[in-house]
Amino acid sequence: MADHSSTYEPKSATAKWWDERLPIMRLLSDQMITFPTPKNINYLWTFGGILTVFLLLQLVTGIILAMHYQPSAAEAFNSVDNIMRNVNYGWLIRNMHAVGASMFFIAVYIHIFRGLYYGSYKAPREILWILGMLIFLAMMAAGFMGYALVWGQMSFWGVTVITNLFSSLDGIIPGLGTAIVEWLWGGYSVSGTTLNRFFSLHYLVPFVIVGLVVLHIWALHMTGQNNPTGVEPKTEADTVPMHPYATSKDLFAMFAFFLMFAWFVFFLPDYLGHPDNYNPANPLVTPPHIVPEWYFLPFYAILRAIPDKLGGVIMMFGAIAVLFFIPWLDRSRIRSARYRPIYKWFFWLLVISCLALGYLGAMPAEEPYITWARIFTAYYFAHFLIVMPIVGVLEKPKPLPASISDAVEGGKSSSGASAHKKN
């Protein structure tokens, strides 16, 4: 359905002149207006558009902040404070950027779990999924380095702890880890040199994300969107043109999401941060309780759950790496968990595990939290490495609808179709 033949007709002489030289209007028309979209996609499919808007918003606010920010150990914290106090609307733009990063991650986590539930990673969408994971990685890099730029206590010690992860490689080749860490720092400890390179890279990474997003959308438009049934559109009756159908739904969802965004920007701007980051960085005092930004907490919990340093680091990176292999780990023939009565329960177990790990990552490294973190870490990996391959083979799926239209017309009242609308 995706490689639908072009229906664009230039309506004026100018449009025709352009179309023969740079068919950009044809591209937009074919990919954004007439592009066939499954007519049964629900609100969980609006997060792609929301993410695109937030990427642009982060770029714009970030470029503005860079006009006022000074990337030096002596002035970074002061310049952020100056933005908050003295720059015209500085508080607004800084709050938008800081809260925007959190909203970006909320949206991306919903987007990823939607993909997991409805099997959007399965053939022929493997490349689409992997590109998405690369975007996720780049986002984490951008978020981590951006938090460092504030140069408060949490910034400084977060960078110290996370860059020190690489020193665990000393356990494989003595000296390798230390060499890498000193290379990252540009010195023997985290310093202004480190801050300066983080600033440079923090400015670069979002443009890399833009490039990856272009590829992600390109790949999406090759295969077309998945939908809640996981059954590919078969006839034109199964789809609607993207405009005005998907676009109107996307726009509504986007504004609903903006409501939450504005709530935090105007009424809770510091809620998602940490008070310690309003203390300037001090290399001689470690805060009693170092926590990363909330969106890293599940991975941080996995790191701390393992008593061995190298083991913890391997598990933490492994938790991200395993996501890249999901298209081949899942052995089920069925895409959507809606028709997978057993797997569905495991999916919710995974959601609970990730939420629990997030909570445990914010707790101190002591009992009983460590034991619980180990249990949920074990399930996190078991889900991908054991449940996905095995349940896919053992489970007897529910009968799939013949087509999307069938599901919409016959299935409206059946339990399969309506039970998951609230997702």
Binding site: N164, L165, G186, T193, L284
Partner: protein, 192 residues
Amino acid sequence: MASDTKDPNRRDFLVVAGNTFAAIGAASLIWPFIAQMNPDAGALALSSIEVDLSPIKEGQAITAMWRGKPVFIRYRTAEEIEAAKKVALDDLADPIARNENLKDPASAPATDQNRTIEGHEKWLILIGICTHLGCIPEGQKISDARGDFGGYFCPCHGSHYDTAGRIRKGPAPRNLDVPVITFITDTKIKIG
């Protein structure tokens, strides 16, 4: 004599050689781009510092700064030395001394003797950075928590060090490092 253009082998060789040279040049250029991130000449300059130990009384500790890192200097009490000496090597999580001043720092056992400078065993001098993830352990100030083994305690992820700075419990993989130290006099040291 055949012209270059008519000899396919020779032409191929030149093309391959040219492309290879271009590739080598491009690849070589990567190195400066990577190496620039290493510590620069200013940071590398081995700044050693001298510390006067005479104001420190028994049971007290001070923190000196060396290469941007805190160095813990402690005048240990007799009980602390005794406690460190009593520990069997088998009880240590990391049995290696990690003392830059020894002849074989990579293999010497982490006895209390090997964790200090010969002839100055009452002084415990350590780089005050947790070998887990680089936090600064507590234990220098009197009001600090000193962990289950009476030495240092890292609040970040709960590593406990004993009175010779050896890791005894928690996720840290190594004993606290002993920097290069020279005793200029009995109460004056040079670090680095």
